[in-house]
Each structure stands twice: as structure tokens, then as C-alpha cells.
């Protein structure tokens, strides 16, 4: 791969109790690019991105083997701190989940718990984050309004702004548009294109056209395995693996 790898897995296996959800996954995710993970339900794609910021740790019965290397260090080493990791690797979920607070407080929340108290600094972080999430112009006059008063698409962009506020390096997105209408989806997709100039974006999506539109690299997963990983154009024009071909052309899944 010609681009610098920011996060990689080596022989990653994950079990939920007796169920093996990931099987020997080795992937190298390039920095400042969008990587899409596709595959049928239950193939392990969400499980994989949840490994990248140790979101699976909290699940009872979850066991992990192998390595997840972020900046050359295994994030599952004993000394690694999941809280600081989750600041550097942020996540946006399927359903927008703003806190029941004001728009401003939603964005300022992260920086605050990381110790920033100065109002002017917080103001500038909030503005900058909302600008980067392409939401500033729509909410600048109503920052004190409740976040829940926003539309679904705006709420999702607010969640992205909230993630950006703590200056992450990697943004994980788990089906970020599946609860949005086509116009809101187009806005989020446009935003993803902007974000990759500064961040590594990893997106899980069921929408094949979306993966093809927004990503530079695509990984196809099936039954916990990474079947094929390559440039998005190659995967969608002439995939090498028959399973990938059959899945993306709708012959199963």
C-alpha cells in the first residue's frame, strides 16, 4: 500500500462467548483516506471497527487475540489507556445520539472532560468543530438550543462535530447515514470527503453505492474474515475474489 498506515491489525480474532466473530483479520488502514468495510449482516465489520477503539472491552464474554497496532503500539497491551485511545480514535454511530443538552454543550463536552475550562478556547473549539462538520452556518444563531431540536441529519453532523472537538486522528463511522434521508446522507457524504484531508476515516456501511462513492479503499468481510481488501475502484469494477463479486452484485447477502 502506497499510503502510510495509521492503524493495522495482525491476526485479530474475537469471540463473543463461544461465537467467533473475527477470524485472523489482518488489515492495514491508510491515513488520510476513507476506508469502507462492507459485508452482509453479522460478517464482523462493526465488530472490527469497535476493536479499533476498544469498544468491545465492555462486553461480557468478549475475548480478543492478536494485535491492533496504532502508531506502532498494540492498543490491547496492558499499559494502554482506553480513555485516551478513544479520544484519538473517535466514533460516530448509526443513530445520531446527541446528549440531551444544548448544541454548544454537546460539542464542548469532550474538551471539558479533557480539562479545558477557558470559555474563549471552548468557544473557538465549538465553532471550529461545527465548521468542520459543515453545521456551523445552520446553528450559529441557536447554539443554546437543545440538540434534540435539530433534524436527524443535523444531529448526525453534530455528533461528528462532537467527535472532532477532541481532535482525534481516526474517525470510525458505523452506518452513519442509515437513519438519514437522501439529502442529509449527501451532506454527510460530502463531509466525509472533506474530513479525509485531515483524518483517517473508517466507515461501515450496508449501502454498497455509498461505499463506492465515499471511500478510497474497501474491505469485504464475510463470516468474520477479511476476504478482500483493495482500492475501491478495483473492488467495484473487477474484484478478485468470487465471494466479493457475488456479494456486491447482489447474488447473496
Amino acid at each position: 500500500m502506497s499510503h502510510d498506515t495509521i492503524i493495522a491489525t495482525e491476526g485479530l480474532n474475537l469471540w463473543y462467548g463461544d461465537t467467533r466473530a473475527l477470524a485472523d483479520v489482518s488489515i492495514q488502514v491508510p491515513d488520510r483516506k476513507v476506508t469502507a468495510l462492507i459485508g452482509p449482516s453479522g460478517c464482523g465489520k462493526s465488530t472490527l471497527i469497535r476493536c479499533f477503539n476498544r469498544m468491545n472491552d465492555i462486553l461480557p464474554g468478549c475475548r480478543i487475540e492478536g494485535k491492533v497496532i496504532f502508531h506502532g503500539e498494540n492498543i490491547y497491551d496492558n499499559g494502554a489507556d482506553p480513555v485516551s485511545l478513544r479520544r484519538r480514535i473517535g466514533m460516530v454511530f448509526q443513530k445520531p445520539n446527541p446528549f440531551p443538552k444544548s448544541i454548544y454543550e454537546n460539542v464542548a463536552y469532550g474538551p471539558r472532560i479533557h480539562g479545558i475550562r477557558d470559555r474563549r478556547i471552548l468557544d473557538s473549539i465549538v465553532e471550529e468543530s461545527l465548521r468542520r462538520a459543515a453545521l456551523w452556518d445552520e446553528v450559529r444563531d441557536r447554539l443554546s438550543r437543545s440538540a434534540t431540536s435539530l433534524s436527524g441529519g443535523q444531529q448526525q453532523r453534530l455528533c461528528i462535530a462532537r467527535t472532532l472537538a477532541v481532535e482525534p486522528e481516526v474517525i470510525l463511522m458505523d452506518e452513519p447515514c442509515s437513519a438519514l434521508d437522501p439529502i442529509a446522507t449527501a451532506k454527510v457524504e460530502g463531509l466525509i470527503d472533506e474530513l479525509k484531508k485531515q483524518y483517517c476515516v473508517i466507515i461501515v456501511t450496508h449501502n454498497m453505492q455509498q461505499a463506492a462513492r465515499v471511500s478510497d479503499y474497501t474491505g469485504f468481510m464475510y463470516l468474520g474474515r477479511l476476504i478482500e481488501f483493495g482500492g475501491t475502484t478495483q473492488i467495484f469494477e473487477s474484484p478478485r475474489d468470487e465471494l466479493t463479486e457475488n456479494y456486491i452484485t447482489g447474488r447473496f447477502g
Binding site: 454498497m208 453505492q209 463506492a212 473492488i235 467495484f236 469494477e237 473487477s238 474484484p239 466479493t244 463479486e245 456486491i248 452484485t249 447482489g250 447474488r251
Partner: protein, 218 residues
């Protein structure tokens, strides 16, 4: 939904094949009309052009509709790209058949036909028709062996066209009364050479369809 899509794709593919063989038949019959001085057959070939255009329009619309409705990827995408290219080559081949039939009609049924054979046009026609036929059968079956030598076969056709051109000039210099006939026959050689190029275009697309790799056959 996807099954409906693949049913429609199969129908489009069958339509493309039908059109391809229809165009091949137009060229084949036009060559026969030329050799046998059969103006009746030539007239009939000319009339088939309307049907050829109709097939082209229908298939093109089908392809655009499938793209718009299903946003196909991978082999499905290649299948549609291939269909669009093949029908445009097939349309050209059919039209060259029509143009050849036009030559037969313009020369009338009283011409001596010795020059057609002397200039090796039937031989050239056979070579070109077999290239078209193999390319279409490769599309039908996915058997790339059928198109493995299209580049070399195209070279033979190109060389033949140059030979025919030189010989034609010689005949015309020897006997100016042959000028009208010869210039028309040289046009036919040119049509055939273009048809061989279209056979190569079809072969390139079939290769892309089957392997996902683009190649250039020259």
C-alpha cells in the same frame, strides 16, 4: 429485487447477441450479393437497416435504464458497459453491410463480376466474418480462446486491404473502364477492414467482461 435485475440483464444480453448475429448476417448476405451479383438480396439487406437501428435504440435504452435503476457494480457493470460497446460495433458492422449492398445496387446486375474474386474480396469477407462470429461466440460463452488471435487476424485483414488497394490501382490503370467498379470494390475492402476493427473492439470488451482487465487489440 436483484433477481428481477439479473433476469433483465439476461434479457439484455440475449438481445445484444441477437443484434450482433443479425448485423453479421447483414454483412454476410451483402458479400454474397456482391459475389453473386444478386440485387434482390442486396435490396433486402438494405431494408434490414431499420430493424438494426430499432434493436440498437431499444438495447441502449434498456442499458441506461438498468444503470439508473440498479447502479450495477463489478461484473454487472462490466456486462452493461460491454453491451453498450457491442451494440454500437454491431450497428456499424450492419451499416457496412448495408453500404456494401448499396454498392451492389449502384453497379446494377449487368456488371461483369470477375474483379470481385480477382481482388480477393470474398476471401477477405470470410476472414472478417469469422472474426465477428468468434467475437460474438466468445461473448456468448465467455471462451476467450476464440478471440485469442484477433490481433494477428486483424493484421492479415489490414495487409489484405493494402494488397487489394494496390491491385485495384493496377486494374484501373490497365483498363479505365474498370474504374467505377474498382473504386467501389476498394470501398468494400475499406468497409471490411473497418468491420474487422469492430470485431477487435468486441473482443476487447469480451476480454474486459470476463477478466475485468482492459486490453487493446491492434
Amino acid at each position: 429485487m436483484k433477481d428481477k435485475f439479473h433476469d433483465e440483464m439476461a434479457r439484455m444480453r440475449a438481445g445484444v447477441l441477437e443484434m450482433g448475429f443479425f448485423a453479421e448476417q447483414m454483412l454476410s448476405d451483402a458479400m454474397r450479393a456482391l459475389q453473386e451479383n444478386d440485387t434482390e438480396l442486396a435490396r433486402e439487406v438494405k431494408e434490414r437497416k431499420a430493424r438494426l437501428s430499432g434493436q440498437n435504440d431499444t438495447l441502449e435504452e434498456d442499458a441506461y435504464r438498468l444503470i439508473a435503476l440498479y447502479q450495477p457494480v463489478a461484473r454487472d457493470m462490466r456486462e452493461i458497459a460491454c453491451a453498450l460497446k457491442i451494440i454500437s460495433s454491431a450497428e456499424r458492422i450492419g451499416r457496412y453491410g448495408k453500404d456494401t449492398a448499396g454498392v451492389v445496387l449502384s453497379l446494377g446486375n449487368t456488371r461483369p463480376d470477375d474483379l470481385v474474386a480477382a481482388l480477393s474480396l470474398p476471401h477477405m469477407g470470410k476472414l472478417v466474418l469469422s472474426m465477428i462470429d468468434d467475437a460474438l461466440h466468445a461473448y456468448e460463452t465467455g471462451d476467450l480462446e476464440l478471440i485469442a488471435h484477433h490481433s494477428g487476424r486483424d493484421d492479415v485483414v489490414d495487409a489484405l486491404r493494402h494488397t487489394i488497394f494496390r491491385e485495384g490501382i493496377t486494374y484501373m490503370m490497365e483498363d479505365p473502364r474498370t474504374i467505377t467498379r474498382c473504386t467501389n470494390y476498394l470501398m468494400v475492402a475499406r468497409y471490411l477492414e473497418r468491420c474487422a476493427d469492430h470485431a477487435c473492439k468486441i473482443a476487447e470488451m469480451v476480454h474486459y467482461l470476463v477478466t475485468g482487465e482492459r486490453i487493446e487489440i491492434r
